[in-house]
């Protein structure tokens, strides 16, 4: 085994080790605790990468099968079997990735028994399922050729499948055509969400054509991999033929996309200088325009560097197209965003690592590549692998036996993942046992005021300190059960709630008017007229009797706050106004007379830092703060 083979396998095993740990985390903690998904982002990284990109990347299988068996382009025969194996493993990876994304993965078989043919997703699911079976049959000759199956029964099966080849190939092409395009059709239902530069009534045709181009370039990339890893000779002549086909397909895709945009009058939007327009051009250039044009030159096509670069560009660009449609160009309400958590990425990498491992394992045992490709030793031309190997050698020396080396790599990966999970993702469900970070205590000030244990915290992260009775909160909210109400579930960038999440009344006038209790006290509907005096008027707050008409005792004498008259009478004054207007004046008076009273009158007690002016920055009732309006 060569160094680069050993190195790649070590890395893959480490990824699989991480994958094992995050798998447990995902299914114990649930989607909310382990992903960045939210109500405005129902689909994230797993759908975009594992499903959308995964299916597109596996398109090489049906494209090559068509070229070799339907168009009988015999020179590409050597590519067909590895491409079909890649497709088989790719689709298997899609299915596994989907298990992580589904909320109820044990219901994954439900589409078979509860079919809903109006759903695009139903069509995708059925096609992918049947195609996975077809691929298994298409690949089965490679398995049946193995000496293990050299028995009369298996030989008969083998002959039968060989006879059915053309049927299988045609079925595979039809199924691929359907679901490659339907992955685009999925988004037809969301014209209100997908950005107009990406939304198109023919998005399904664009998905299909771009998948063909991508499939061809993936076959190219795969040849580079097998040359790098197994030492198979690079068949440049054939690859250049594939490159020419891919180039035309990609240019066709780009032209169709731009033409469609132009006919629908959306081209202006592509030149409006916005970030989305820039992304549109970047993605289209990377995935189709630039590699398509480059591949038109035979000098690029016939050089291995040119092919490698264009293949990589296409792969990233077309995957980018899927990502844009599913995530970036998918609209969300203001203030809601999505970024994948590391667990989402680790799961996807783990699935890819498993698929690659199975690929290598099968190639080592079955005749996936034609016999004429005798591997030569690939050592030691590559530059990247030995360098990476050098750093790995310290950790996992060459002298170590393979099983021991790989187990160690997997274990190291797993331990690393557990370390990353330590902030509670793994045990997210067990709230009481999770450690919570300290409140944002300002300069560590802890004022032990009798039993309440007061501390000064910056609860709203606006640079201002307030007195906060921690123990009192714990007690009032129901002991440790309630920790999560403030300390959340240790989500990224969101370790605690702002005070205003619960105390919405702190900085804004709040609705404290309880309509139903008024009805009860005023003896049901007879009491309506007590407040809604004018029967002709619509019964609204504005037309109702001001609260203070009945509740005269509510007005504090000497207060700087005058209760509102007329409309909006059910609103209590904000905490700020209450403190300044209703409380402080009394406290000042009282503490002047009696030193034991808490001296709320001392401004510096609350206003530790006086710089910030934005008090009333939240809430529907609040008027925008004027500069210097700090009182």
């Amino acid at each position: 085994m060569t160094t680069r083979q050993r190195t790649l396998k070590t890395v893959l095993w480490a990824l699989i080790g991480i994958f094992g740990v995050v798998t447990i985390a995902r299914f114990v903690g649930g989607l909310g605790a382990t992903t960045g998904l939210n109500d405005a982002t129902p689909w994230g990284f797993w759908i975009a990468f594992d499903v959308m990109a995964g299916v597109a990347l596996a398109a090489g299988g049906f494209v090559l099968a068509a070229a070799v068996y339907i168009f009988r382009l015999e020179q590409y025969k050597g590519f067909a079997r590895p491409a079909i194996l890649t497709a088989l493993l790719g689709y298997a990876a899609v299915a596994v990735g989907l298990l992580y994304d589904l909320g109820l993965p044990w219901h994954i078989w439900h589409p078979i028994v509860f079919p809903q043919p109006r759903s695009v997703l139903f069509e995708v699911a059925m096609c992918v399922m049947i195609y996975l079976t077809v691929l298994l049959f298409e690949f089965s000759p490679a398995i049946l050729e193995h000496r293990l199956f050299n028995r009369p029964l298996f030989r008969t099966v083998h002959r039968l499948i060989k006879k059915l080849t053309i049927v299988l190939v045609i079925a595979g092409i039809v199924l691929s055509t359907l679901h490659q395009s339907s992955l685009g059709s999925l988004f037809l239902i969301a014209p209100h969400r997908v950005h107009p530069l990406w939304y198109s009534p023919i998005i399904w045709i664009l998905f299909y054509i771009s998948a063909i181009g991508l499939g061809l370039m993936m076959v190219t990339l795969e040849s580079f991999f097998s040359a790098w890893y197994f030492g198979h000779p690079l068949k440049l002549k054939q690859l250049s033929g594939l490159g020419r086909a891919a180039g035309s397909v990609l240019l066709g895709y780009a032209a169709l996309r731009l033409g469609d945009l132009a006919t629908r009058g959306g081209l202006a939007q592509a030149f409006d200088g916005s970030g989305m327009a820039a992304l549109f051009w970047f993605e289209l250039s990377l995935g189709a325009l630039v590699p398509g044009l480059l591949l038109m030159f035979s000098r690029v096509r016939s050089s291995s560097a040119g092919l490698l670069v264009t293949a990589l560009m296409t792969v990233f660009g077309v995957i980018g197209y899927r990502f844009d449609v599913a995530i970036v160009a998918f609209g969300r309400p203001d203030g809601v965003s999505y970024f994948p958590s590391w667990i989402e990425i680790a799961v996807s990498l783990g699935v890819v690592a498993c698929a690659l491992m199975v690929f290598i394992w099968l190639v080592e045992r079955l005749r996936v590549y034609p016999e004429d490709e005798e591997p030569h030793s690939p050592e030691p031309t590559g530059a990247v692998a030995p360098r990476l190997a050098g750093s790995l050698r310290l950790l996992l020396p060459h002298s170590m036996s393979a099983p021991r080396r790989y187990s160690l790599a997997a274990m190291l990966g797993a331990v690393g993942a557990i370390f990353l999970l330590a902030d509670g993702d793994l045990f997210g469900a067990q709230l009481a046992a999770t450690p919570v970070s300290a409140p944002r205590t300002i300069e560590g000030k802890l004022i032990d005021h009798s039993a309440a244990r007061l501390m000064v915290v910056d609860g709203n992260r606006d640079g201002r300190g307030v007195l906060f009775a921690h123990d009192q909160h714990v007690e009032d909210l129901g002991d440790k059960e309630a920790c999560e109400m403030c300390h959340h579930q240790r989500l990224p960038f969101d370790s605690q709630s702002a005070c205003s999440d619960c105390h919405r009344d702190m900085y804004l006038a709040t609705d404290i008017f309880d309509h139903s209790s008024h009805i009860n006290h005023l003896e049901g509907r007879q009491g309506c007229s007590r407040c809604h005096r004018n029967a002709d008027q619509v019964k609204t707050r504005e037309t109702a009797t001001p609260c203070a008409d009945c509740h005269q005792g509510m007005i504090v004498t000497g207060s700087s706050i005058t209760p509102p008259t007329g409309g909006s009478t059910g609103l209590a004054v904000g905490y700020l106004d209450a403190m300044h207007g209703l409380c402080i004046s009394c406290h000042q008076r009282e503490s002047a007379a009696d030193a034991t009273e808490p001296s709320t009158g001392d401004c510096a007690l609350c206003h530790q830092k006086q710089a910030v002016a934005s008090w009333r920055h939240i809430g529907p009732y609040a008027a925008p703060a004027k500069p210097g309006d700090t009182k």
Partner: protein, 261 residues
């Protein structure tokens, strides 16, 4: 025939008392709202809050809830038929069928369905218009709770007439539009209002086309694609085979000639 029921909300009558929210929570046995990242950010709806009263400037209150569209995008999107449109109007959900793909959440033009993100066994959560109460001849809990008559329940045709009647009787007060009458093919929750309610949908430019028609345009092409692609491939296969055969016979013929001479 079952009468198609609907809810009409008149925002000018709403005083923002939140009695509908309380009633909804009680009826559906929803737990209290926790301040969490995935909740209360968008429109205050959450997996524990199926309806909510949004306070708008000028003392206006607007109730947000599931529209129970006449041709619901979520129902057409659902891969297993867990969401269904009942003849009485409500769009209801069957968690036993759901597999959690969340395509309904992608499809909904109002962003209504919410997910139990924090639970290891999550379900889609949304208003069901109190379907069990309607089946028993009653009306939704939120309507029951409204003292102001700001939200009323009844046959959709009648409520539509009532809505237009209100607009006609008081044209200065209302915006001349019955929200939900035609949007995305019409909804079972109608609004009349004195402030624009475009903010209630994810995109103010929602047309009148029912969203399921958009996907159906592509889906209906499945049979022709199967036949066309299958036929095309079989045809090409036959032609290439024939060509090879002909080339073969020509070759063998010339071979024979060469041998003879």
């Amino acid at each position: 025939m079952t009468i198609r029921q609907a809810i009409l909300t008149d925002t000018t009558h709403c005083i923002g008392c939140n009695a509908c929210v309380d009633a909804c929570k009680k009826e559906n046995q929803l737990s209290k709202d926790l301040p969490r990242r995935w909740k209360r950010r968008i429109d205050d709806l959450s997996s524990t809050r199926f309806t909510t009263v949004l306070a708008k400037s000028g003392g206006r209150f607007v109730r947000q809830q599931c529209r129970h569209c006449l041709e619901p995008a979520c129902v057409s999107a659902c891969i297993v038929g867990a969401l269904t449109k009942t003849p009485q109007g409500p769009v209801i959900y069957d968690g036993d069928k759901c597999m959690g793909c969340r395509y309904c959440m992608v499809a909904c033009p109002y962003g209504i369905p919410r997910y139990d993100w924090e639970k290891p066994i999550p379900y889609v959560r949304k208003c069901t218009m109190c379907y069990s109460r309607i089946e028993a001849g009653g009306q939704p809990a939120c309507v029951d709770a409204c003292d102001q008559g700001a939200t009323v329940f009844g046959p959709r045709d009648q409520l539509r007439e009532e809505a237009h009647h209100r607009l006609k009787r008081n044209p200065k007060k209302y915006i001349d539009k019955v929200y939900g009458e035609t949007q995305v093919g019409g909804t079972s929750v109608l609004y009349v209002s004195d402030i624009p309610l475009d903010f209630l949908s994810l995109n103010p430019e929602l047309g009148d086309t029912p969203l399921p028609d958009l996907t159906w345009a592509a889906l209906s092409k499945v049979p022709p694609i199967i036949l066309g692609m299958g036929g095309l491939m079989a045809g090409v296969w036959w032609i290439t085979g024939r060509r090879q055969k002909l080339a073969g016979t020509v070759e063998t013929a010339t071979d024979k000639k060469e041998k003879k001479s």
